[in-house]
Symmetry: C2
């Protein structure tokens, strides 16, 4: 997606250690037009998987996942990291290491909103190590639902997430692919 | 907004203590079409305020604020509650009591994304006590920006938020207004 590539090169910052700062348009400040375009493109790529629900993780997955959900006409479910008082006592929970927080985080969903009939498309901002996405997949599978695809806005291929997701045996799509961030570079495929 | 009123009456749950559970379409599962409609309506109501940026708080403000930002063609900035490693050392920070968490939470923004020229429209999911919105207003004002309006998806008038926001001297709009939640009721105006 050329507009996304251009934006990453213009406003993305390589903070070192494999951390790409995209706070100007994706993770703190959000460009709604760009998100809408990302959502339309992910919807197009996953048209055939017959998803019934989009699943993401709070916080920074919400914007691209909402745009995708809108273009696919599907509900969005976002896994919570802390339990609000509106959540029932019994939740489906897992843990995953957070790349940008340097610690394990909890991911939880209410069983009210997933069923055995659901076909889940996971959408997140980044595909890096794949651990958050695998956590989301576990949540969906625990609810008895089927994972049918994984879409990410930005993939960092050198962190091996695509290999980690291989056991899911679903199509994996990224709208921008970063192949090298060594020595301060941001190299897109 | 009739579709929103209907949805609150159909899927909203009064959990007691003034807590309205809207996890089915706004706070955990999100209905993108309904969000889009909310965003279009807030954009219409605030057309005249000449905003330059939408400001909300993570997490549940993001969906309605993104929809509003899309319809107004403006960037969205969401205040963070915890500091990701991509944020600079110097941030603009305040604290506000969280209604659904029963504790004080931090709200912070990076000074990179607000300037003295900005005219901020604050959008959040709920207007209850108004404390989160006042916290967002403090963040904006600390950056030297001007607050020009406050929009909420659901207002609970009996919690006094509108009075709390009066010192801001800006238009305050809510798309659904709940006037009574006593004895298990959900009474919309």
């Amino acid at each position: 997606m050329k507009s996304l590539y251009d934006r990453i090169l213009k406003d993305g910052r390589n903070l070192g250690g494999g951390i790409l700062k995209v706070d100007a348009f994706l993770n703190h400040q959000v460009d709604p037009q760009l998100m809408d375009e990302c959502g339309r493109e992910l919807a197009r790529r996953f048209e055939a998987v017959e998803a019934t629900k989009i699943l993401t993780a709070e916080i920074s997955g919400i914007a691209p996942a909402l745009a995708t959900a809108l273009h696919m006409g599907l509900p969005l479910l976002y896994a919570r990291r802390t339990k609000p008082i509106t959540m029932p006592a019994q939740v489906i929970m897992t843990t995953a290491p957070s790349h940008t927080r340097g610690q394990m985080v909890e991911l939880m969903i209410s069983p009210e909103f997933l069923s055995q009939d659901d076909r889940i498309l996971i959408v997140d901002d980044f595909l890096a190590t794949g651990q958050t996405i695998l956590g989301l997949a576990r949540l969906g599978q625990t609810a008895g639902a089927q994972i049918v695809g994984v879409g990410a806005v930005i993939e960092k291929v050198f962190e091996g997430g695509r290999e980690a997701l291989a056991p899911l045996e679903v199509p994996v799509q990224a709208l921008a692919t970063i192949v090298d961030m060594s020595e301060g570079r941001i190299v897109l495929k």
